[in-house]
């Protein structure tokens, strides 16, 4: 949104609205591919994307990212941030509602209600950000996964990268690891992304019974349905 950037803009360039729709999970596969293809050769749009990402990060770290007024059960307009005072009862109501809402990210909307799922955090340099599906990542980024499950499960997290190479991200052993019920529980290890660029699918397999991970990795491209199991897939882009 600088006038200097506007002067450099071509008709094919990605508008802020398009970037926002992309981040909001509103674009279909073909539209996302268009955005990625354009970013691959347009310096102006890559710089704009970086600026927008930085602004989003600052917002997510601010007090605005999870405001009390959004969690409050009363819907009447309240005074502005600087003049607002909440009583103890309002705070308690807001805290209860937060537990009920468990704000979800776009990728979570795609899963069946109640199914276990994973999320992840990205460490890039000294920064740690919460990631989301369709995230643009870089080689060298470190990912740390978290899971949410209503019951105890056996979990493995695998990946298939842009070169169709399948890897096991979690656990380190041959057997899927048992995880206890919990919300956004961090797993103990992290993985560093290698230099292979392109789309990468990250697949979490949750099963009620223990299972061997290596056979899954070998067949990841055509992951078979397993009775008593569910899968949850994230897609990221490495560039």
């Amino acid at each position: 949104m600088s006038l200097q950037m506007m002067r450099e803009r071509t008709d094919d360039c990605i508008s802020d609205l398009r970037f926002d729709q992309c981040l909001g999970g509103e674009l279909d596969d073909a539209e996302q591919a268009q955005v990625r293809d354009h970013l691959a050769f347009c310096r102006r749009c890559r710089e704009r994307q970086t600026l927008l990402a930085d602004e989003r990060t600052r917002f997510e770290r601010s007090d605005m990212s999870d405001p009390e007024w959004l969690r409050g059960s009363g819907l009447q307009r309240r005074p502005a941030f600087s003049r607002r005072m909440l009583g103890l009862s309002s705070l308690l109501a807001a805290a209860c509602l937060l537990l009920a809402l468990q704000l979800r990210r776009p990728e979570d909307m795609l899963r069946t209600k109640g199914d276990p799922f994973i999320s992840f955090y990205v460490k890039r340099g000294e920064q740690v950000l919460r990631g989301s599906s369709q995230e643009v990542l870089q080689p060298g980024d470190r990912l740390r996964f978290a899971y949410t499950a209503a019951s105890a499960q056996y979990l493995a997290i695998l990946s298939i990268d842009g070169a169709a190479q399948a890897s096991i991200y979690y656990p380190a052993g041959a057997q899927a690891e048992r995880v206890e019920p919990g919300t956004d529980v961090l797993l103990p290890s992290s993985v560093e992304l290698d230099a292979t660029l392109g789309e990468e699918k990250i697949v979490a397999v949750f099963c009620a019974e223990p299972f061997e991970v290596e056979p899954l990795r070998a067949a990841l491209a055509e992951l078979p349905a397993r009775p008593g199991c569910s899968t949850y897939t994230l897609q990221v882009h490495k560039q």
Binding site: M1, L3, M5, M6, R9, D11, C13, S15, D16, L17, R18, D20, Q21, L23, G24, G25, E26, L52, E55, R56, F59, E60, M64, S65, P67, W69, L70, R71, L75, R77, R78, A80, F81, S82, L97, A100, L101, L103, R104, R105, P106, M109
Partner: protein, 165 residues
């Protein structure tokens, strides 16, 4: 409002609030006003979630809501500043604007007729295509083109180069 609807608005806040705040801060030139617009936009959505109906995407709805909220606020600021100046309580150069270039754009937006101001925001500030603007406004691309021509005419007549294409 059902809890599902409230949860849905909370989801939208999580995925889109940063862009609402970013645009509001650019348009208004200060964080305090942008925070209030952010709150107003989402409280309005909490009160009437069916406002989303008829918009192609959540983002197009939020662009429209944010633009209207900011333009209203700019006009209110302008009127407030005029009243203060008339009462001798505020010199004209004390208007709270930051960068010179942004200040010129904001002053132009305050003076433009309402419909043109909205299109000017989308075209000159958000850099949207005619098609994207048409989707937000719910009109044809030809209409958008005509409105942009009217803005450019206005910019030339008022000697506002930044809106003259």
């Amino acid at each position: 409002m059902t809890q599902d609807a409230q949860a849905r608005v909370a989801e939208i806040y999580r995925s889109h609030a940063a862009s609402v705040f970013r645009r509001a801060r650019w348009l208004l030139g200060n964080e305090a006003d942008a925070r209030e617009v952010l709150q107003d936009v989402f409280l309005s959505l909490l009160e009437r979630p069916n406002q989303l109906d008829g918009f192609a995407t959540i983002s197009t709805f939020l662009y429209s809501m944010t633009t209207h909220a900011c333009l209203n606020r700019l006009r209110n600021q302008k009127n407030r500043a005029r009243l203060l100046r008339e009462r001798g309580e505020m010199p004209s150069e004390q208007l709270p604007m930051a960068a010179e270039e942004r200040m010129r754009v904001r002053h132009a937006l305050e003076r433009l007729p309402a419909q043109l101001a909205e299109v000017a925001v989308y075209y000159f500030i958000d850099e949207l295509s005619h098609e994207e603007i048409a989707n937000i406004l719910g009109c044809s691309r030809r209409t958008v083109g005509n409105l942009i021509e009217r803005i450019a005419d206005w910019g030339r007549s008022q000697e506002v180069p930044c809106l003259s294409k």
